[in-house]
């Protein structure tokens, strides 16, 4: 079975208060040198079929309409056969 990983992150120009809070915690824990943290989410789709170009197009469509909101988020799709 193949897995398809869809990663969703806020667009760079959208404020990410959660990432900023994590960045603050990193500093308090003594990890220096981290300039920025962006928090996102990942969807791991286990697919019980071959990942054809057609299937990939369907997954891309779902990533664009349901899994992400294109107004504020970008996404990537990675296939692990």
């Amino acid at each position: 079975m193949a897995t398809v990983v869809v990663s969703v992150f806020l667009k760079p120009e959208i404020l990410d208060p959660q990432g900023r809070a994590v960045l603050g915690a990193l500093g308090r824990l003594g990890l220096s040198g981290v300039a920025d943290v962006r928090q996102g989410k990942q969807f791991i789709l286990t697919v019980d079929a071959e990942i054809t170009a057609e299937k990939l197009a369907e997954i891309n469509h779902i990533a664009e309409t349901l899994l992400s909101n294109p107004v504020i988020e970008d996404f990537t799709v990675q296939v692990n056969q």
């Binding site: 806020l10 120009e13 959208i14 404020l15 208060p17 959660q18 809070a21 349901l66 899994l67 909101n69 107004v71 504020i72």
Partner: protein, 230 residues
């Protein structure tokens, strides 16, 4: 004939009963609509209430947007029916692309609950025409993800077309860009608002009765026959 205003209940809606009560106090018949029923039951206008539809999983409003009833709501909104989305309802309207922009996590990360002062900046929409332009009102605000965001082009367009219907006064409670509390679509029939006018319709339970104007406005709109019934 008394106007019929539908209030949709999603799994996780909280304010549907308050919204229905506000509709009744304004003088209309409140009609309960169910998320799984793709039927608007001959209503003349629709309220999408506040709450946490589908637990706010994925993104606020993202799953509610695909509920069977929403297909009909979107169709009716495009045909001109007045639709008001409050809080979670505003998020659903943005996810449905009936309104531009999106609502994101409050910039300070805290859930906020307070009586909020607003300035009405558009009194020609289907839901704001009973207010004076520039009128200041106080209604409750309660949200965790109420920060309105859109790109600069969209914000400029909203401002230029007078589509910002209300702005936060004194304090921006959630980091909304340009202090925007509510907006409308180009036609003026679809309105999204983060604060809660339905909680400010009676002296006993609200800080004011300033919120009632949203619900009487839609009746004024329907009486004037400027809305399309689907």
């Amino acid at each position: 004939m008394t106007a019929r205003v539908g209030v949709v209940t999603f799994p996780g809606s909280l304010d549907d009963h308050d919204a229905a009560r506000a509709v009744t106090l304004a003088g209309a018949d409140a009609v309960s609509l169910w998320h799984g029923d793709a039927n608007l039951h001959n209503v003349d206008a629709i309220v999408l209430p506040g709450g946490f539809s589908y637990g706010d999983y994925l993104r606020c409003g993202a799953i509610a947007r695909f509920a069977p009833v929403m297909e009909k709501v979107i169709e009716a909104a495009h045909a001109g029916m007045p639709v008001l989305g409050i809080c979670n309802g505003f998020q659903i309207l943005c996810e449905s692309h009936l309104l531009p922009g999106a609502l994101t996590r409050n910039d300070h990360l805290h859930f906020i609950c307070r009586d909020q002062k607003l300035k009405i900046e558009n009194n020609s929409s289907a839901w704001t025409r009973d207010y004076e332009l520039g009128q200041e009102i106080v209604v409750p605000l309660k949200n965790g993800e109420g920060g309105f965001v859109a790109d600069d082009y969209t914000l400029d367009q909203l401002e230029a077309e007078g589509r910002v219907i209300a702005r936060y006064l004194d304090l921006n409670p959630n980091g909304s860009r340009r202090d925007i509390a509510g907006i409308t679509n180009v036609a003026g029939n679809v309105v999204g608002l983060m604060p809660h006018p339905e909680h400010a319709v009676e002296d006993l339970t609200g800080p004011t009765t300033d919120g009632l104007g949203f619900f009487t406005s839609v009746l004024t709109t329907l009486l004037a026959g400027q809305a399309v019934s689907v």
